[in-house]
Symmetry: C2
Subunit: 146 residues, 2 copies
DNA sequence: CGGATAAAAGACAGGTTTGTCTTTTTATAA
DNA sequence: TTATAAAAAGACAAACCTGTCTTTTATCCG
């Protein structure tokens, strides 16, 4: 009932880059992993997925690093789950029955239907820009602490 | 965002035993695993956890098997998550921060606080007996279908 | 008691996720 | 062009979850 570690790293990494990019054009993996207290090489892989997923940019070499582009701030949490491979349960049963449907519902179906929709809604309607704004100004503290 | 397989097996196993025990004093693992179409030996381990967790009883040997006791029907889904080791997020952060608290919230805290409480509520207020009642009479179908 | 039955326990294997380290590729500046 | 810096890519290991099989332990019945 919790996101994967990868998702957490991805979100926090993305937020950190977005925050830094308000004042600096690039951030390096080294800095990100230290500030977030996240395993460096693993974070590298997650960030790579973000770049490949089209929600972040990167540049190799000197003066390189990660930086945002147009789409970054409008990236929703739902898109992020797709990128990090988190199984999200819209259309799938919380009990892992073959599929979630009202005709042949699992014993939990009624109880969780509403919550699933609401949850789905939050993920689809919240984007990186929203989180960045809402959590200012002690925002760094909120993503840096494990 | 979904329960573990173990949790699903545990719940369905528990429900099956509870259902059968309305007419028969014991059920064997063999029958349960076949009816639920669940891997037999793995289910055995899950059932063992239920017994150790004090929400089910078992007896070895001839005429043995699994059966319910007083506490079985009042077992909540929240208790089940504890038994199967599912990380549930009440008091813990969806992003896996050390702990979820309002003073130093993660970037998602605000957005998910309400949903977490609601979800928690469903799990804590739903017990095996409830599910058994609500899903009668085509209840077997609902738990047997994978 | 002795044989049969069923859960409990233990050993092991495959897959996925997470984590670490090394090598390769790309870009920059001098 | 060369040295350097940084991400990308690849190889590998540890931990966890799931699944299978074998051995042990408890119980019942004759
Ligand atoms: S059938 Fe299980 S949640 Fe809908
Ligand atoms: S601190 Fe993350 S959900 Fe509360």
């Amino acid at each position: 009932m919790v996101f994967s570690k990868s998702f957490g790293y991805a979100l926090r990494g993305l937020l950190y880059v977005a925050m830094i990019n308000e004042t600096s054009p690039r951030v390096q993996l080294d800095e990100i992993s230290k500030k977030l207290a996240v395993p460096r090489y693993f974070l590298g892989k997650v960030m790579k997925k973000l770049v490949k997923g089209g929600v972040l940019k990167s540049k190799k070499g000197p003066y390189g690093g990660f930086y945002i582009h147009e789409k970054t701030l409008s990236t929703t949490l739902l898109q992020l789950t797709a990128i990090t491979g988190d199984t999200i349960m819209y259309g799938s049963c919380v009990l892992r029955f073959r599929k979630c449907n009202a005709e042949n519902p699992c014993p939990l179906h009624r109880q969780v239907e509403f919550l699933k929709n609401e949850w789905q809604n939050v993920l689809a309607s919240t984007n990186i820009g929203d989180l960045l704004k809402k959590n200012h100004p002690d925002f760094l503290k909120s993503i840096a602490v494990i």
